[in-house]
Amino acid sequence: MVFFMNLGVDLCGVKLKNPVMTASGTFGSGQEYGEFVDLNRLGAVVTKGVAAVPWEGNPTPRVAEVCGGMLNAIGLQNPGIDVFVKRDIPFLKQFDTKIIVNVCGHTTEEYVAVVERLADEPVDMLEINISCPNVKEGGIAFGQSPKTVEAITAEIKRHAKQPVIMKLSPNVTDITETARAAEAGGADALSMINTITGMKIDIHRRCFALANRTGGMSGPAVHPVAVRMVYQSAQAVYIPIIGMGGILTAEDAIEMILAGASAVSVGTANFTNPHATEQIAAGIAAYMERYGVGDIRELVGAVHDR
């Protein structure tokens, strides 16, 4: 007998073939990793953040490795929405995967400009980056106060044609406050966590490892923090959560799903293993088969006390 499994996920009416997507900023628009991974096997590709106009990003060095993780301060370098629409969307349309565009801006108006520009594009969902720790205006400044999270979510929802995912920052005292605020503003889903602000110092040169001094920490070292925040938020809101933060293996992804994530994003793991996304999707299926789980949805939030 063939054991039939459903890995499909319904995110706000968007049907993903499996719960594995890429974490914004680690995967470009898929062109580069497409040489290693069959993009048709991914639930969705979440693009690098795109703004209304091109952004140059931060000076280099922009990355530093730390034990079990890395810091980045790219500064949201991006080619601007015009090039993105002309080049990146047609590229992604060649594949049988969902397209989620990550949107960044310095002001509410800049976010709205991108959201409006995408209204008639073949894009499945929007992920709004209000949590980048590496830009001076916008980014995290919007994501740390529940009041501004609710306000910007509501404003974006007024203009968006596609479902809106708000990407939340872990650099807050209580993640459930910002999660509830995004929900109150009308968010269709949440993404968490963005990177955790960190710092590395080169003791031999006695200088900051990053030109930006601080950077966002990602990688397996942050995974338990992400699992905890996804769990807490899943208890606090009704909308679906896309879990990310240090997912390196299928086991990590399943942990996130058990904590309450409906889908997962894989980021830093791509740098460690260019095939990570595809392998994690296959590994989730193997786990389901091993434990006789017929539907991935049975696992969402299924964690319980010992």
């Binding site: 580069e32 040489e35 140059e56 990003g57």
Partner: protein, 262 residues
């Protein structure tokens, strides 16, 4: 330019220390060796899972018939320290060949290497069949010099020149001091080395009105053009980034000097 990249398990054939903190390693890497050209690099992964990022290392020699590549690298941290302890038979994952190599212009060429920028110039010296001379800049300790001399055989003395900062061998000073002292001239320059050396060569090449191809270095994460970590400033708006940034791993690491800020 797009080149085919491969992920493969590579096996150490031999390894030796050739200087203070400098190691030379031959790797069996069939696919990478079959496709690599001088100036490209490979991403080598650590076995230690707490080190997530691959180490980008330039290719020093390519032995296509044996399916091997040679990497000469400096131990700069825990990752390269791990590599330096690898014995014959040890295996690691690698992705390559990455980036763009040196374009071969078929003109009288000066190949210039400084410090740990010297290794990729050996691959280029072996792979270019045009008239060429080599200038190597060291702080004090020499390495790979005999390998370069072997490329030129009997003409090594009038083909390979060196500079040392302390004057312990060759010309005292830097590579430009050698060029001036020996009155070397060329129609094209190829170079890899520290920033100040590349800046000086860029200026020199502009004065001489000759093209100068330089290999840049920057901290990398993905190594394949996705993450935008390893950018350098460019003179013009880059076609991919749509800003004045070029990806060292994808558009580089070899650039025409006048097109980038060194």
């Amino acid at each position: 330019m797009e080149h085919e990249k491969f992920e493969e398990t590579v096996t150490v054939v031999s390894q030796e220390q050739i200087g203070t903190d400098i190691y030379s390693m031959w790797l069996r890497a069939e696919q990478i060796a079959a496709h690599a050209v001088a100036g490209q690099f490979v991403s080598l992964y650590c076995a230690d899972g707490s080190r997530l990022l691959p180490r980008p290392i330039s290719i020093c020699e390519i032995a296509r018939e044996r399916g091997e590549i040679r990497l000469v690298y400096r131990v700069a941290g825990e990752g390269t320290k791990e590599f330096s302890g690898m014995c014959p038979g040890a295996q690691r994952r690698a992705v390559g060949p990455l980036g763009n190599g040196f374009p071969k212009e078929q003109k009288k060429a000066l190949l210039i290497g400084g410090g740990i920028g010297i290794p990729p110039m050996l691959a280029l010296a072996k792979e270019t069949d045009c008239e060429k001379q080599v200038v190597l800049g060291y702080r004090d300790e020499l390495f790979l010099l005999e390998d370069f001399k072997k490329v030129f055989g009997e003409t090594a003395d009038e083909s390979v020149y060196i500079a040392t900062e302390d004057g312990s061998a060759g010309t005292r000073g830097n590579v430009l001091d050698v060029i001036r002292e020996r009155k070397l001239s060329a129609d094209v320059i190829y170079a890899c080395g520290p920033g100040p050396m590349l800046r000086a060569l860029k200026e020199y090449a502009a004065e001489q009105k000759i093209p100068c191809w330089i290999s840049m270095e920057e901290r990398m994460a993905c190594g394949i053009g996705a993450c935008l970590a390893c950018v350098c400033k460019s003179k013009d708006v880059d076609a991919h980034s749509n800003v004045k940034n070029k990806r060292v791993c994808a558009e580089g690491p070899v650039f025409l000097a006048e097109e980038v800020e060194t």
